[in-house]
Amino acid sequence: MREYKLVVLGSGGVGKSALTVQFVQGIFVEKYDPTIEDSYRKQVEVDGQQCMLEILDTAGTEQFTAMRDLYMKNGQGFLLVYSITAQSTFNDLQDLRDQILRVKDTEDVPMLLVGNKCDLEDERVVGKDQGAGLSRQFNNCGFLETSAKAKINVNEIFRDLVLLINKKNPDTKNKKKKKQRGGCCVL
C-alpha cells in the first residue's frame, strides 16, 4: 500500500487539529487545545487505490519553526489552513508557502489552500474570492473552504491532496505490482 505523508500547517487557532480529528475520527473537537505535534494514520481509498495516510498535525505557534523545517523536508503534501474569521491567519500563509518551496527547492509541491470555519459566515472577514485569489497566486494550487464543525469539505481536502501527490509522482511501481497480483488472483 502506498504511504502518503501529509502535513497540516497554519497559524494558531485556525482549526488544524479540528480538521484532522474530524477526518480521522469523525468527531468535532470543541476545545481549542494548542497542539505541539500529533500524528495520525488512516487508511482510505482514493481513486480505487488503498492509501495509508500519515497525517502530521503541527503547532501553529511560530516558536516551533525549527520543527517546521523538518516537517517540510519529510512531508509530501501540505494543507495550508487559515480561518475565514481572522485576517492575520490568511496573511501568514504567504511566508509558509514560500518556506515550503525553499525547503523543497522546487515550485511544484503538492499543496492545498484551506479556508476553515466556513460555518461562521457571520464572522467572516476573509472573502471566498480572496482565498481563490491567493490560490491563483500560489501557482493555481487547489482551494476549498471547509468547516470541521459542520463537516464541510473535510474528506475532500485530504482526498484532493492525495490526488495532487499522485499527479506529481505517479506510482508506477505499485501499479505493476498490482497487475502482477491481479494475475495471481485469476490463477
Partner: protein, 837 residues
Amino acid sequence: MAGMGDVRVEESLHVKIAEAKNLVTPSVGNGGRNTFCTVKLDGEQIYQTSIAEKSLNPFYGEEFRGEIPRKFRHLSFYVYEHGTKNNKVIGKVSLRKQELYKYHGKDHWFPLIPVDSDTEVQGKVHLEIRFGEFLSTEPESLTSYRMIVKVVESSDLTVTNGACNPYAVVTLSYGKSRHKHEVKRTTVKKKTICPQFDETFWFSLENRAHQHDRNNYYIEDMFDAELSVSLWHDDTRVSREVLGGMFPGVFLGEMKISLTDLTSDGVHNAWYFLRARDNWKNQKQELGSIRLRISYTSDYVFPSEYYDHLRNVLLASSDTEPITSSAAYIFGDIVNNKQDAAQPLVRLFLHQGRLVPLISALARLEISKTVDPNTIFRGNTLVTKLIDELMKLVGLPYLKDTLKPAIDEICTTHVSCEIDVSRLKEGENLEDNMNQLKHYISLIFEAITCSGLVCPTPMCEVFHTLKQVAQQFFPGNNEVRYQVVSGFIFLRFFAAAILGPKLFDLRSDTQDEASHRTLTLVSKAIQGLGNLVSTKSSSLGLKEDYMVPVFVYMSDASHVDAVRMFLDIISSSARTNSIGGEIEAPIILKEGMMRKRAQGRKKFGVKNFKYRHFRLTNQSLSYSKTPDEDNLCVIPIEDILAVERLQEESFKMKYMFQVVQPLRVLYVQADNCVDEKQWLDILNKVCNTNRGRLKTYHPAAYMNGHWLCCKSMESGASGCIPVTGGLPITDIQVSIDIERELEKIHSLLLNNIEKLEQMQDACATQEVYAGEESLDYPKIEDTKTCFETLSKILRCVISLEQEHMQYRKLVQRETVLGSIDTPIGDDSLVFPSDTKL
C-alpha cells in the same frame, strides 16, 4: 553632525544551517556518511554543528547567533565528512560580506564548491612600488628605467594543514602575450600568517626592450608589462626533500597589476588583497548543496541625542488614542516580519518602563477583534510577538533555573519513553516506558509549579495585564484568565523550550532522535497540563489514543490545582497597580489559624497576642475572628514589603514571623515549624517581586525604644541585615543598548518608507471620500491622528537618514584606498549593503 568617533558599527549574525542534499563524499562506497558543518569568518571557525548520522541528505536544523567583534570579508560554511581518524572536507559555500544582504532572512540552497588553495585564498600584501631612472655604468648606454618593488609585509594568510611558512614571489611578465617572466623570491618566514618581509627587488625595464630587437623605443612599451606578487606556503618537507625544490608549495594568493595603471612618479605604497589565480576555474563539480538562512545586520549607531525624536514618538504610543494611530502599532503594521519589529520595540519599552501600558493597549485592540475567547492570542500578531520576545529577553535565566536539571536528565540518560505501541522498539516494554515518561513529567511538573516565586517581574506584570484585559472582555468566562497566561507560559515558553532545548539555551548540543522523541512526548504532556486548567469539557480520547493515559494521569485535582495556583501567582496583581479597578475574584492561596500580636498604632501599652483566622489570596493577606466573620484587617499584597522569621528572643516565642508593611510590622506566630515554613514560602512567593520590596530588614522586634537586633533607636531605621533570598537570580536586569535598538527601528522604518507614505495617502483618501470604503487599502480607524503620527515618523526617519548620509560622506572622504583597512583589489565599496534612500 556626527564625527568619525561618534558613530559605532554594530554587526550581528544569525544563521540557520538547515540541511544538505546530494552530498558527494570523498570516501568510496555507497551508503550514508556522517557529516557535520562549520561556520567560518574568514579563516576562523566560529561554530560547528553536531554530527548528522548516516545520510547524504543530512538534516542539521541548527541555529547560531552572535555579535561580530571584528572586520571580516567572507562568511563561509564547510561541510565535512566525519571520520574516526580525521575529518575530510566535502565542500564549502563562501559568501562575500557585501553579498550577504541578498540572502537576508530567507532560506537558500547554495551549491558546494571544492575546497582548494585557490578557493581558500585570504589575506593581503603590502607593497611599495617605485620607478626610477638610473645611469648605467656601461659606456654608451642611455639612462635606463627600473622598477623597485618592496615587499613589505603580508597579513591574514591562509593556514594550510596547521602551518604557514610563507614566502613571496615577485614576477614581472612582459612580451606580446606576457609570456616572458622575470621572477624573484623572498626568503621563507616561519610559522606566521603575518610575515614581515621588507625585501626590495629591482627590475630593469629597459633591457627588455632591447632584447626585443625593437629599433624604436617608446616609453609606453616600457610599461607594457604586468607585475604580480604571489604568496606561497613553503611546505618544507614535501618541497625540498621529496621534490627537490621543484614544487613551489601551497598557493596562498596573489595580486596582479598592470604597470600602465601606475604612474611613473612617486611611490605606490599600498595594501592589496590577495586573490585566486586567473587560470583557476570553478570546476563544475557536483558536490551537493546546503540550505542556509543567513541574517547579517550592521547598524551604524549614533549617539543617544540623535534618536530623541524617534524615541519620543514611539514612547507616546501607549497614550495614543486610538492605539492603531500609535507609532508602535504603525511600525508593527508595516514591517513584514513581526518578530523583527517586536525585538527592538520590546527592548525600548522595557528599558523605559513603558512595556505594560503598550501591551495592555495592544492586547485590548486584539481582543476586541477576537470573537471566540478560545482563539485569544493564538495568532502571530504584534502583541504576541512582543510577549514572545519579552520572555526570551528576560526569561532565559528563569527557564534555565526551572527546567535545566530535568532536561539534562532526559538528554543524558537515554531511557526510552515511547508509549506509542506502533513505534515501540523490540524488547521495549510499554509499562516501563510509561513509568519513565511519568517520572520525567512529574520532574518538570514539580519544577514549573514551584517556580512561580522566581518568575521574572516583567513577565508577571504582562501576564497580569493580559488576564485583566481578557476578563474585561469576557466577564462571564472564568477559564479565560488561565488560558491567556497558559497560552504564553506553557505553549510559547515551557513546551517550546522542552521541544527545542538548544534554541532556548538549555542545552548546547543537538539531541539525537531518541532523546528528541522523549522531549516531544514530555512537551506534549506539559502542554497538556497547560490545557487542562481551562478545560470545560474534556477532549480526552479525541486526539492521539496513546497519549490518553498520560493526560488521565495528569488531570487529577492535585495537578490541576497546582497549575492553577502557579498561573495565579505569576499573574498576581500584587506587582502592578491594577488598571480600572479590581475585576478579578480573589483566589485563596492559603488559610489557617495563627496567633498575632496586636498592631496598635500606639507606641506604648500592652500589645497582646490573639488567635485569628488568616487568609492569603492573590490580592491580600487578611484576618478575622473566625472564617465566616468579616475581616478585621486587610493588607494588600503590594503593601507586603518583606516576610521574614523573627528571632525567638523578641517575644520569647517560637515560630514567629513578621510581615513588614510600609508603616508597621505584623508579628504572627504559626502553629509549628512546618506551618511556619509554608506561610513564609507562600507569602514570599506572592510578594517577592513587589515594587517596594525591602532589601534589608530587622531580624528582631522594635521594643522599648530600640531595635533589639541592631540597637538602633530610630523606629524607622532601615533594616540591619539583607532579606533572605533577595531578588531571585532569575530576575536579573538585562542590559539593553537602547541606541542600537532605536537604530534598528529607524532602519526598518526607512526600508518601509514607501509603505509609510502609502498609508499617509490612504489617510488622506479616506478623509476625502468619507464613508466609501477604499478597496486597495484597509480601513484606517482614525485618519487624523494616524496621519499626524505618520508625519512625525517620517520627519524623524528623514532627518536621521540625512545624518547617516553625511556620515557616509565623511567616512568616504576619510577612507584611503590602499590603506591597511581598505586594500586595493576588492570591488566592494565602503558601504556595500547600504541601499538606503
